[in-house]
Amino acid sequence: MTQTLDYLKETASQTAGPYVHIGLAPGAAGFDIYREELGWDIAGPNAKGERIRVEGLVIDGTGSPVKDVLLEAWQANADGNHAHPEGGGDVEDGFRGWGRVITDFATGEWGFDTVKPGRCPGRNVGMQAPHINLWIVARGINVGLNTRLYFEDEPEANAADPVLGLIEWERRRATLIAKRTERDGQIVYRFDIRLQGDGETVFFDI
């Protein structure tokens, strides 16, 4: 016999299920209940930096869009600071850095408006490339999937990024790079997430 460690065990995850919207986006489920739903405004009107839109699809192993996904984003402001006591510095009033979006029930498209994040420090040395942390839950996903979105117009920062550098297979790094386009004068980054199979997106255990 050895001594017993007295740590608690983390509560195990379960799928968010097909009706996740009821709890986290009730308007999309079809009813209005809260004074204000949380998560629809990531950066707020006072945020400095380049205004961007990020959008994409989540695609399953058969190549079909997943139409009942809830996706959350977590990012730094344009200075590379996170809105948190350990976030590295101040952020603008109203900048929460966190957002929540759902996929369209008919098309599976999701998207959110934000500002392009700045670089923040890496774990031990160096700076990370601008990135947005994403967390994906849905029916059929037993534990939320973590990934990161990087920007294709940051090739030097991406090349030096310590997290991208950890991915042994260089061709898989490309699954984390959002494509920049412009539409009606707005900057749009396209980021399709492939859950399984050809071009499978890199997911992290963080």
Binding site: A12, W74, C120, I141
Partner: protein, 242 residues
């Protein structure tokens, strides 16, 4: 630049695997490649901050938060309460807890739910609250009913309440489901059984808590939620301890 203290690694043998053929939808929605392990950086040890201003007091009372004036939801009235703790058994204060559930008949207020059990006109099915300084939370609601789902031909979900918790770091983000003590459907549910460890399943079953009932009003269930704990970085030049 000192490195942030990391959170304890997630025990992926304790959590359900991504792929489980008996929960059919997971078959095409589970990654085939392994997860890439990351040590926590500032991007992972931080996370959204919520305050009591983000929610209304009535948001945590599902019996009344969608009811017409003078009316209330139909069903077994319950208090659902507990603490949010970390693996070091420390309370997690001021964190957002959100729940959603079917009504007493197992019907969800969702445009995609077509189950023949009726909608309760006085029940929305969602609630949210912020834990207090000791990590406590509570909701009042009605006990949800079981409902059928298209997995195996005759599968029924046990009564359950979905719960979403943030903690204080992106790494702690968690969604799970709360089951109820004594429900015989728990044992045969393919979603419950995506979890391999019986002790891990037991941790998802709320206990009837007679001490917390409100006599002649509501029965009570207790459900504690444990989020990941955090390491003190003994050998990484971090002065603060645990």
């Amino acid at each position: 630049m000192t490195s942030p203290g990391e959170f304890y690694q997630r025990d992926r043998m304790w959590h359900p695997p991504a792929y489980d053929k008996d929960y059919k939808t997971s078959v095409s929605r589970s990654p085939q490649y392994s997860l890439i392990s990351l040590q926590n950086s500032i991007s992972e040890v931080t996370g959204p901050v919520f305050g009591h201003n983000d929610v209304d007091p009535l948001d945590k009372d599902l019996i009344f938060n969608y009811a017409k004036s003078g009316e209330s939801a139909i069903g077994e009235r319950i208090i659902l309460h507990g603490r949010v703790l970390d693996e070091n058994a420390r309370p997690v204060p001021n964190t957002l807890v959100e729940i959603w559930q079917a009504n007493a008949g197992g019907r969800y207020r969702h445009k995609k739910d077509t189950y023949l059990a009726p909608i309760d006109p006085n029940f929305g099915g969602c609630g949210r609250t912020i834990t207090d300084e000791n990590g406590y939370y509570y909701f009042r609601t009605v006990k949800p009913g079981a409902y059928p789902w298209r997995n195996w031909v005759n599968d029924w979900r046990p009564a359950h309440i979905h719960v979403s918790v943030f903690g204080h770091a992106w790494t702690q983000r968690l969604i799970t489901q709360i089951y109820f003590e004594g429900d015989p459907l728990i044992e045969t549910c393919p979603i419950v059984n995506t979890i391999r460890d019986k002790a891990a399943i037991g941790q998802l079953i709320a206990a009837l808590d007679r001490n917390a009932t409100i006599p002649l009003d509501s029965i009570a269930y207790k459900f504690d939620i444990v989020l990941r704990g955090r390491r003190s970085t003994l050998f990484e030049n971090r002065l603060e301890g645990n």
